[in-house]
Symmetry: C2
Subunit: 371 residues, 2 copies
């Protein structure tokens, strides 16, 4: 199914190798988000070329459009979207609490209203697994309850109890049905808000059930960066050493380095792709907004220190022109660059871990990034 | 500047070679439209890969955004957009009469209102040439007056008289200023609506002035296909044999073959790119609308007889999904396919001319296309 090996350690940071039936992943790894069966604006060939070794698909979105049964009929998500590398699918848990309108929540699951056509959708741990089996992802996630922060201690306690029950049911369901492309791995999700001892409790319960990997969920949902970092640093080192650790939905370049420092192996975030389409671009000297007037006649590349094809072939003035005229090529070139920036950053971090100089790498990067 | 040689003839159809300082063009040729300094949705690398040997840029659009002086400062349109092949720029004449609001028209030129911000823009033959010199295109076009059809004989007579005067002034202007990337070729435009003897008169006046190539303008502007074909067949064979003949803004696949049969060498049209973005796709069996329900679960390629990467890698069901969810990748894959279809069609026509079997090629293509 999947096999994880640690290759190197530097303080709490880890470099590992995750083998799956769809290919090998070198961790730490950043997973571009392919919400609807496409990493927005790019072809799978380009995603490969960027060095991405795994992408993420969204169960909730794909269940709605085009429908997971349709995807299964057409050979599964890999075949449907022409991506032969590993795919991780989320459980729909995050979208339930962020995008859809919640109509009913009880022990069995949730009833929500689709954000597309208002239709009613029932989602249970079993249904989420069945959808992910239809999609045929490499790694599935358990349905969890993700709270908006701040939340009371009692709310958090209730949510981890429910998340644990759903996790057991997810595991049971996953051992029954089968994916369109063979045996799928399953990760459990640690909840617990900003309460460190509740995080520990949730982790313990997940480990008792036993999963192929463990994720930290429920962060980047309204808390401060300090709170998020404190949870990640506290809980990551307590997660099983021999399993991959995944920090869900996080974050900006600084968050990635902080997570890697804490011992996280996997990340996903819409930030590089979504920001790109809005003209917000990452460079080694920090973020820039390409629409600004100062770039109007600027013949320089977006980031002179970047080796991506956008930076090699196009000027800031051209990228600004494409953005201002709403040209599709602008979204493509921006997306390509931002993903290159993210993926390169994590690859460089991996090398630094192997060379036992991650703390220094992080410091040097941030000094320049914040300049 | 440019050099044109005929390589083969089959009845009135011609296969030629047009040498320019930016590269060699094999005619008949289809020129993808890159309105704002980008063939919408594609990179220049992809446009090359598709086999396009020359693209078109729009003087009016580029004058407005990002501005031709900015483009000149940044090294000209080739450098700005990272396309090193030949570029033909139109004169702005067509947009004056189709897109902008005309405020004033006299012998000197026109004053129009920008369709972007309502500002007043003066366009004269000299200004159009100066803009095209700033852009540094390979081939420039003379400013002409393009009438909407039907028009009275008197209106048409006045328009060809004005177009001839403007053509002489365009030629004079072109010999004075100079392009950002060296000496540019200049084509004259034959007007005359549907009146065959006025077309002849316009052509004669253009030939007397003397240009590097001649275009047929003012078609595909409201007349029937029969009228258009009758003008093209009548006038193309009367155009100078040793110069390239360009049919402006035309058309669908049937129009291209009709034009080639009449002896046309160059074509441009937004149809393949614009239709692609609207989900209207060309196949060897005719046009299809990918959004239709019948393609929902269709695992087949868009056109099983097509060798393009869209058809090799993706199903109709996937293309429909991308279109329905408004994904950028859908517009990319559709554009790639439609341009491949157009460019391949014209290349096949060229081969047929060289093999002296163009009439048969046309018949066979149309039989399948209309089936």
């Amino acid at each position: 199914m999947i096999q994880f090996e640690l290759e190197a350690k530097d303080h709490n940071s880890r470099a590992g190798i995750l083998k799956t039936q769809h290919g090998t992943i070198h961790t730490p790894v950043f997973m571009p988000v392919g919400t609807l069966g496409t990493v927005k604006a790019l072809t799978p060939e380009e995603v490969h070329e960027l060095g991405a070794e795994i992408i993420l698909g969204n169960t909730y979105h794909l269940h709605l459009r085009p429908g997971d049964e349709l995807v299964r009929k057409l050979g599964g998500l890999h075949h449907f979207m022409n991506w032969d590398g590993p795919i991780l699918t989320d459980s729909g848990g995050f979208q339930i609490f962020s995008l859809a309108k919640l109509l009913k929540l009880d022990q069995s699951g949730v009833v929500i209203r689709s954000h597309i056509d208002g239709s009613k959708i029932t989602l249970t741990p079993e249904i989420s697994i069945a959808i992910q089996q239809n999609l045929g992802s490499t790694i599935m996630m358990c349905l969890d309850q993700c709270l908006e922060l701040p939340a009371t201690r009692q709310e958090i306690e209730r949510s981890i109890a429910l998340t644990t029950k759903w996790a057991q049911r997810s595991k049971d369901a996953s051992s029954q049905g089968s994916g369109v492309s063979g045996k799928q791995a399953l990760f459990g999700i640690v909840q617990g808000g900003g309460e460190l001892n509740l995080r520990e409790q949730s982790l313990e319960q997940m480990v008792n059930i036993g999963f192929d990997g463990y994720a930290i969920g429920g962060l980047s949902v309204g808390e401060t960066k300090e709170e998020m970092y404190s949870v990640v640093h506290h809980i990551a080192v307590k997660m099983p050493v021999q399993k991959p650790r995944y920090l869900m939905g996080v974050g900006d370049p600084e968050d990635l380095l902080e997570g890697i420092e804490a011992g996280i192996d996997m990340f996903d975030c819409v930030m590089p792709t979504r920001n790109a389409r809005n003209g917000s671009l990452f460079t080694s000297h920090g973020k820039i907004s390409i629409k600004q007037n100062q770039y109007k006649e600027d013949p320089d590349p977006l980031d002179p220190d970047c080796a991506c094809s956008t930076c090699k072939n196009y000027s800031r003035a051209y990228l600004r022109h494409l953005f201002k005229t709403n040209e599709i090529l602008g979204m493509r070139l921006n997306t390509y660059h931002n993903l290159f920036f993210y993926i390169s950053l994590v690859k460089q971090a991996r090398n630094a871990i192997k060379e036992k100089c991650f703390p220094n790498f992080k410091k040097t990067f941030l000094l320049k990034y914040r300049s």
